[in-house]
């Protein structure tokens, strides 16, 4: 006799997969796409403005194979990663310094609080004026937008370092450099990674916006251009591909984070205080 399991009948199994595993979420997406497909097919909504999913997939396949989409993506991802890397390279050390040194913090805090909430879209005209409409402008805008979340998170991280930890290190005779390297940098690292994750999503958004505003290449340009030239399925194809790219970028980051920050995950999941 087999032991009794809660999922013996078929209904039980289905409800288990739907509500207890991660597959349920994928099914939601599939269900929505199916509804979309039939909605267009049966003219529930305008099939020209909202084409069938299969047509969008076909268009996505065509622009990918023809090399049009990959070419745009190469440029977009270059701009995005260049801007993002600049913001990390500048943002992390700046945040550490501002967080560590009270005087520097007091001097820069109002400036940060003014720049941070300024909508990046409002900054773009100034940058176009100063840097033109080429790569420099786009990379600068991306770096600018992703700089602030990194900076603020790193500062918070340094400020959040437990006093007992610092005092412990000092009792053991740690020099300021050792204190910084072995305690502050480590204890703040979860915040640093959080800032970097928030920023990478922002950098993709801002790259696309910058490409839509000026220039003649990149995925942002592609989507807008498809709309203007009435290549509607291609336009949707561009947006779909962005959804997938955005998802992948975030996913990769989360995987990296959980492998590097294993201690933090264990610590926080153990003590939900």
């Amino acid at each position: 006799m087999m032991a009794k399991s809660p999922h013996q009948n078929i209904l039980g199994k289905i409800s288990y997969i739907l509500f207890r595993t991660r597959w349920g979420g994928s099914l939601t997406v599939i269900a929505l796409l199916t509804f979309w497909e039939f909605g267009s097919t049966f003219k529930l909504f305008h099939p020209v403005y909202i084409p069938k999913v299969t047509d969008i997939a076909q268009a996505l396949y065509n622009v990918t194979v023809s090399g049009e989409l990959p070419a745009h993506y190469t440029i977009t991802l270059f701009r995005m990663s260049a801007g993002y890397c600049i913001s990390v390279i500048i943002g992390v050390p700046c945040g550490l310094m501002i967080g560590y040194n009270r005087a520097v913090f007091n001097l820069t805090e109002p400036l940060i609080e003014l720049c941070r909430p300024t909508p990046v879209s409002a900054v773009i005209p100034i940058v176009i004026l100063l840097l033109g409409v080429g790569n420099e402008m786009k990379i600068f805008i991306v770096a600018w937008a992703s700089f602030w979340p990194i900076l603020v998170n790193v500062i918070d991280g340094v400020h959040g370092v437990d006093r007992t930890l610092m005092e412990t290190a000092r009792v053991f005779g740690a020099t300021s450099w050792e204190l910084f390297k072995k305690i502050i940098l480590q204890a703040a690292s979860p915040h640093i990674v959080t800032g970097m994750r928030v920023s990478i999503a922002i950098s993709l958004i801002v790259t696309v916006i910058a490409e839509m505003l000026a220039g003649n290449n990149g995925i942002g340009f592609f989507v807008l251009d498809a709309e203007r030239t009435f290549r509607i399925p291609e336009m949707y194809a561009g947006v779909f591909s962005l959804a997938v790219i955005g998802y992948l970028v975030n996913r990769i980051f989360v995987l990296l984070e959980s492998s590097i920050m294993a201690w933090h995950k264990g610590l926080t999941s153990k003590e939900p205080k």
Binding site: D162, T164, L165, E167, T168, A169, R170, V171, F172, G173, A174, T175, E178, K182, I183, Q186, A187, S189, W263, H264, G266, L267, K270, E271
Partner: protein
């Protein structure tokens, strides 16, 4: 010669709307290899006292002399063990690396030249009985085990003076009794000098050679006991020794009396405890 002399130190905390006398003219001497307990009610500035002795906080007046030199920064050979072990262990390091922490620092590297500090760390992890947990993270261990890791980390630096700030305060009674005996064995084996701060009178008497009793607000020494209970101590025999009970009751009487006096002098107001503890 005395290892440590605390000479008439006082500590005031001054902030715009409050002026608190935390400690008033405390002075005592500590001989090498002595085990001293400092007992006082909570909020009587015991932690402040240890912070000053360890050089983390300067006294407002008076001075502290350790091995002939004045303490103004954390001196070598002194380790302070915090009550809050979970916050003083580095959560990103495994147990063995936590014990290594002190040894990696420049100061200790000077005397560990040519020695493998991993070996040193393992030796003391062995001494606290946690060698088989060396690859765990501290937060995977129980409270008592975490405090033992913190003790091993302190011992690995081979301090001459260990300050302990209510190290067993947040542990359950049984673990606490175990760790008390464990500490006594460690002390007999490695011969450090220990200043053990606690609000638990029995714990203080059970462990020490000498008991210093503090009263609060401002904190000052009200009495010193030479504690001549026989060693080795035993949780059952020592604690039922008539002499043990005598000392314990006497300290209890002093502390409760002082609390009452304080109430009378200050119209029954609660003592200010904002900056103390």
């Amino acid at each position: 010669m005395n290892l440590l002399s605390v000479k008439n130190i006082s500590k005031e905390f001054i902030s715009p709307n409050q002026h608190t006398f935390a400690i008033e003219k405390i002075g005592f001497e500590v001989k090498e290899r002595e085990f001293i307990s400092v007992i006082g009610p909570s909020g009587c500035g015991k932690t402040t006292l240890l912070m000053m002795i360890s050089g983390l906080m300067p006294p407002t007046s008076g001075e502290i002399i350790l091995k002939g030199s004045k303490v103004d920064t954390p001196p070598p050979g002194l380790i302070l063990l915090f009550q809050d072990y979970s916050r003083s262990l580095l959560p990103w390091r495994k147990v063995i690396k936590n014990v290594c922490f002190g040894l990696e620092l420049k100061r200790q590297r000077r005397w560990l030249i040519g020695q493998d500090y991993k070996k040193q760390a393992e030796k003391y992890l062995e001494a606290v009985g946690l060698l088989k947990f060396k690859n765990h993270y501290p937060w995977q261990l129980s409270g008592g085990m975490q405090q033992r890791v913190a003790i091993a980390r302190a011992l690995a630096c081979e301090p001459t003076l260990m300050l302990m700030d209510e190290p067993f305060g947040s542990l359950d009674a049984q673990t606490r009794a175990e760790l008390e005996d464990f500490l006594l064995r460690i002390w007999e084996r490695f011969h450090q000098t220990i200043i053990f701060v606690t609000h638990d009178i029995e714990e203080g008497v059970y462990l020490s050679d000498r008991v210093i009793v503090l009263a609060k607000s401002p904190s000052r020494i009200v009495k010193e006991f030479q504690n001549d209970l026989p060693r080795p101590r035993n949780q059952i025999e020592t604690r039922s020794d008539p002499r043990f009970l005598e000392i314990r009751n006497e300290i209890h009487r002093i502390i409760t009396q002082k609390e009452k006096d304080w109430g009378k002098e200050n119209d029954g107001k609660e003592p200010p405890s904002k900056y103390l503890g």
